[in-house]
Amino acid sequence: MTGLRSLLFLVAYSFRRQLRSRKMLLAAILLALIAVVVVRFGVRATWSARRFGDLVVLKLLGLFFVPVVALMFGTGAIGDDRDERSLVYLVTRPMARSGIFAGKLLAVLPHVLVLNGGGLVLLWLLATVWGRPELEGALAHYLAPVLLSSLAYVAFFHCLAALFRHATLISIAYVFFVEVFLGSVPGILKRVSISFYTASMVYGSGAPLSPPPVFLPIDASTARWVLAGLAVGFLALGAAAFSRREQHDPV
């Protein structure tokens, strides 16, 4: 009971600390920039569901905003404490390390889901001002892929933070080389990227959007399970790694 109480407090405490962090401001600025793109495009041409899915959901959100927000919060959940050298106050308390890891993820999850899901809703609302009627029903197709990919990304980056001291740099390199570069090459190599499964979900969601000829998506149901599995798998891997690894300053 005491251990559970500690962990519940850890979630609430870390949630509040993240809420007051600069990451929120940075995420808001990035979202505002994307909103400017949506408005400018809407003023010049009408948004269609297809165009919105391709440019906003898959490119601006899927390849940029969603991974960046997940990266900031995923690596920062533990990384911030490590950087300010205050992790000692957590690991010397009577909490299982795996619990600390899971609690830290739970604390950042609302931020990531609200920013990414809320960001999508906001951009969709803006686009509908200059959108065709079909855009009004498009949100239902895009929301689940964005939320599930957010989950997979944040679990992955949180896992990297448990494995590596400089997880942020590794994560940035990962986003550009794996998600952006490998995720857009022809063939099956792109299947190593999370964005591939996000796109497969979007293409298979019933939205009026078809994949490029060389994309070769998997079906939406499989993609959904892969993303959920990645989230659970990275949570388990990260928890195991965090439990075994010592948190100390280098000698």
Partner: protein, 342 residues
Amino acid sequence: MSSMTPAAPPISLRGVSKWYGPVIGVNGVTLEVEPGITGLLGPNGAGKTTLMKLITGQLRPSVGEALVFGRSVWSRPDARRHVGFSPEVDAFHEEMTGREFVTAMARLSGIPRREARRRAEGALERTGMLDRCDKRLRACSKGMRQRIKISQALVHDPAVLVLDEPLSGIDPPGRIELMGLLRDLAGERKTILLSTHILHEVEAVTERIVLMARGRVLAAGYVGQIRELLAEHPLTVRIACDRRRVLAAALVGLESVAGVALGAPASAGEPEGGDGPGDVVVKVRRAGDFFRRLPSVVLEQGAEVERVEALDASVEAVFGYLVSGAGYGGYGGHGWDGGSSG
């Protein structure tokens, strides 16, 4: 405290070694620490901080076991319930006030909200921070931050306190106050392991010490006991008496005495080698034997002894000897530079 193993010592290390890759931090340490204050001494790189991290469950021993009340502090979170740790590193959640921080640490220890607030106030009061605890941590002085660190270590009322350089950055009156607090805590049967580089501070609060160098425990026990173990290293004793020449002649015949010299006469008019009142300085091989025999020799010679004092039985002297024996040849009581990390 109900989950403690009754017979188990508060802190127990069994053959503990810790490597950081090819570097050894702690080497084959077997140690038990009992209730009361124990000073942990050693130069930089001695392994003090590593030892403290092992005891607080931050590090996993490469070999051996680090136990708190018989439970592995690395693998059993419930063992950490009994441990309060004040780290040397000056790091906090800077945006918080002292009160918020200490309360948060209580809540992370599983204490319910209202009780956590009450305990935080209690801990802050004990460290003399209650009237200043609503200041943001980033605006606090070093001394205030040290007190906050000690408060968070105390807040869940642990039976074991591990304090890494807790008095650094605190002004002299504050040090005296906190040393008083440590003595009070020891009086409550808490087990306190205290590392500090200011040796007289250790002597002010305890005679029980653990001396470390190069990752090894060189000696553990009471300063006097440790000193006695150093049979081959003479102890210097000054005896102020009325018949110093007669007493010196008698003492020189003792097996435990390596040498005797006449010290300063008690009065200015007295000749240097005279038999009047003054000091006899004795180099002693085995302090225990010597002090057992001394009263009878004094009685036999009909001398009146005013004062007996060991000139080099201080922690610093013992430490200096031990450390120079361990290869820190440059140490002469002046080469101490802070021991910031072990």
